[in-house]
Symmetry: C2
Subunit: 479 residues, 2 copies
């Protein structure tokens, strides 16, 4: 049966060429646009009522609806003044890779289905293992995001370090700044909340080493089996990096697995200036690293690296009979033997395209630029009366707070900063969310988008200052 | 910093418009092309040596390399004569959705970041729950593939049915035809191999109900806690569907979770003719359903459905502080509370576009067509002397075997069918892999691509017959 007529095929071609033009223009003009164009209630109401039709609808009508009603009301996480969460750094080059990959739609689960895609993925994994200083027997896999990367690594850690009957007595160590996906992954793989020990962090939001040592010693005394520490290389709240070398020494001493959650910060390995902050990451057993965070990729492009690839094979290899003809004869592991997925899109190809076209040095400069922008924001805020730095610039993230009057009660200050965030987000000029640090509501900027200019930072902080001032005036003015 | 110059931006536009044209042409001419263009050794050797450059390279050169050396040497799983594994049914409409989604790159983890994408995903989940006959409190999530869908559902099953101290005594029931991702998911979430009971199947490769009942009874006697049965709706080997209604009754009786792995076959719910084969699927607790298998989508587009969405929230909700501003105020669960991922691409939008443009009835006809093509293959093979049907057409899959001489030893027959598969794959005309059924190597065709014609089926079987004949001639002729 013909699902698409020749006429529709021609129409798809025309509509998509228009779309290419519009998208290039969109990216070129992004700085002049608001960070988000939230859908209006009318559009949402229209879409809520729109059924899935029995019969076909004119393609041009559907295309217009997709473009105007659906895509255009997205918040642009790749906007140069999107500073919330970990913003997207998605480049047109990564998009180009997506467009090509999706057209060919390679099945990247095994080598026979997409031998070249397999080669490219392996080369990128080798390159990233090299950047991390991992040995030859290391390996890894492209996965959909940091959460699945963490899940994959922690499953391998469990299987490498624990016999199944030991699981119930095992203990794992995270910090109070560790990403929520770690606790989620540990829950999925069968650990209880009380097996996860949350270690406090010091003033710079890095894991407190002596508290970690004490917790391990204490657990051993109680008959528990400490088996893994999760160190963060770039926490989401503040960009802080746990003391990897010292934690690695502790892990070595107690035969524990060291997983580094570098979903955000491992990209610092690309920068000559910044990579020293991740010193001794090569002593870890596994690393999560999201290319869709700081390596200019669209979602979903993430990597899990492992010091010894055999550990992935031990946890994930399966050999069903209908896959027999697809298995390679060289005895090397297929991708479906290295992680939780069988069928996978070829997530590595867009990163390859980006790196080939841009060069790795420029990507290193992207990291430096992001760090410099956060430092610039910090410097301006320090000079602004009534404003204080809650956590100085670390890996492109800075936290701060408007506290014009020390006599104001804590909850009023919290509300004030919450209001400032709300007002700047509503303005469409920039997106700045709050977070909680040491029990206080603080503002947070993650400035990793390479297109963010000094002027963007100046203008955003100036606007925050203006909003803060307005919020504390007897009669509140609008932003 | 500027990562892409104005000139490069213009170049990207031109190259991509060319690519659109070429891709439309590629799809139009796919039936005339070989199923795969494997990379030649020269290309592989060139790519193996190609480094990740420090400096940028000319975009047009990189583009040409990506197109010719990387993408063009893919095996086309969406080719109308690709009959191995579960072939891709990827449509240009799904590709169009990918091109648009990737350009806007919405963060589909929560509502505030992409409110319209969130609405569309919810509408599709509601629609699919409706097709499954699930009640109002049901829900679900788009995930990257069937393996993650199964992992998500089984985590919810474990948490709903077992206290953590009960896990070690719990037992799970699968059949000898269950997809390998189930055992993998059970391993990930902490169960041992000896907790998984493999129930035999009858002649039609459906789970043997009395064997299942006996295993459950026996386990209860041994002090075990049976907690879940995995029924397949469309096994990968033969397309067989387990007796869902009877298994559901057993699960109800023993307070067990019923998960239906419908990654391949749940799409039959779209067809008026076929949906009765999934009768009583509404009695299950969860369903996996891959839109990238039989609903014309590119990878990765899969869904996990659950009878009561609260079960997903109980297993996956987490509330880190830096996400606070992104949480909706209506108290309804965010997508990141429903599954293992936090950041997610908006996987539902391409399916929405496809359904809007095509209509759901036509997608139902896609299912009917796939089933009819497998039946046609079966009919032709039955009439071919020396050929036998190993498993008749079920949901678009048929298994068969060349056994020209009953006196031939079993291992010679196995080798013969293996050789036939190898030869037709090498010819480039069609891709037909083998599988193992009842200890025998058999050929397998999965005929779900809607563009597959009757002529494709006739020609492919004729060629298999010719190859089989040649393979058994004293002097083997080439295919």
């Amino acid at each position: 049966m013909q699902t698409i007529t020749e006429e529709q095929s021609k129409q798809i071609s025309d509509l998509m060429k228009d779309f290419i033009e519009q998208t290039i223009n969109l990216y070129d003009t992004l700085p002049m646009r608001p960070v988000g164009c939230p859908a209006d209630q009318k559009t949402l109401a229209y879409l809520e009522k729109l059924p899935i039709p029995n019969q076909e609808r004119p393609l041009s009508e559907v295309f217009r609806e997709m473009l105007q009603d659906i895509y255009a009301s997205t918040l642009f996480a790749q906007h140069p003044r999107s500073f919330s969460c970990i913003p997207s750094t998605a480049s047109l080059l990564s998009w180009m890779g997506d467009v090509m990959t999706s057209a060919y739609n390679p099945h990247a689960g095994c080598q026979v289905n997409a031998p070249v895609a397999a080669l490219i993925e392996k080369k990128l994994i080798r390159w990233m293992c090299g950047l991390a200083g991992y040995p030859e027997e290391s390996g890894g896999l492209f996965v959909s995001g940091g959460s699945i990367a963490n899940l994959t690594a922690l499953t391998a850690a469990r299987d490498a370090k624990l016999a199944s009957e030991e699981c119930k007595d095992a203990t794992i160590y995270i910090s109070n700044q560790t990403h929520s996906s770690i606790a989620k992954a540990l829950h999925i793989i069968g650990f209880c909340k009380d097996q996860i020990h949350t270690i406090p962090t010091g003033r710079s939001f890095r894991m407190d080493l002596s508290a970690l040592q004490a917790a391990i010693t204490d657990d051993i005394k109680r008959g528990k089996k400490p088996f893994a520490v999760i160190a963060s290389a770039g926490t989401t709240n503040t960009g802080s990096i746990d003391p990897i070398a010292d934690i690695a020494a502790l892990c070595h001493k107690h035969n524990m697995w060291l997983h580094v959650d570098g979903a955000f910060g491992a990209s610092a390995l690309l920068s000559k200036q910044q990579r020293k902050k991740l010193a001794r990451i090569e002593l870890s057993d596994s690393i999560s690293w999201d290319a869709h965070k700081w390596m200019l990729q669209t979602y979903s492009c993430s990597v899990v690296l492992i010091r010894n690839q055999e550990n992935l094979v031990c946890s994930f290899a399966a050999h069903p009979e209908y896959l027999k003809d697809a298995e390679n004869t060289e005895g090397c592991a297929e991708f479906w033997d290295l992680g939780p997925e069988l069928t996978r899109p070829a997530r590595s190809l867009k990163l390859w395209l980006t790196l080939q076209a841009m060069g790795s040095e420029k990507m290193g400069h992207v990291i430096d630029h992001g760090c410099a922008m956060a430092k610039l924001a910090e410097d301006i805020i320090r000079k602004s009366p009534g404003w204080e730095i809650s956590s100085p610039a670390q890996l492109g993230i800075v936290n701060f707070r408007y506290a014009p009057d020390q006599a104001m009660p804590e909850n009023a200050l919290n509300q004030l900063n919450q209001d400032i965030s709300k007002k700047i987000n509503e303005s469409g000029f920039a997106q700045v969310f709050t977070t909680q640090l040491l029990g206080k509501t603080v503002l947070r900027m993650c400035t990793i988008n390479p297109e963010t200019t000094k002027q963007d930072i100046h203008d955003t902080v100036a606007r925050l200052v203006r909003i803060g001032h307005a919020c504390t005036m007897p009669f509140t003015l609008s932003a």
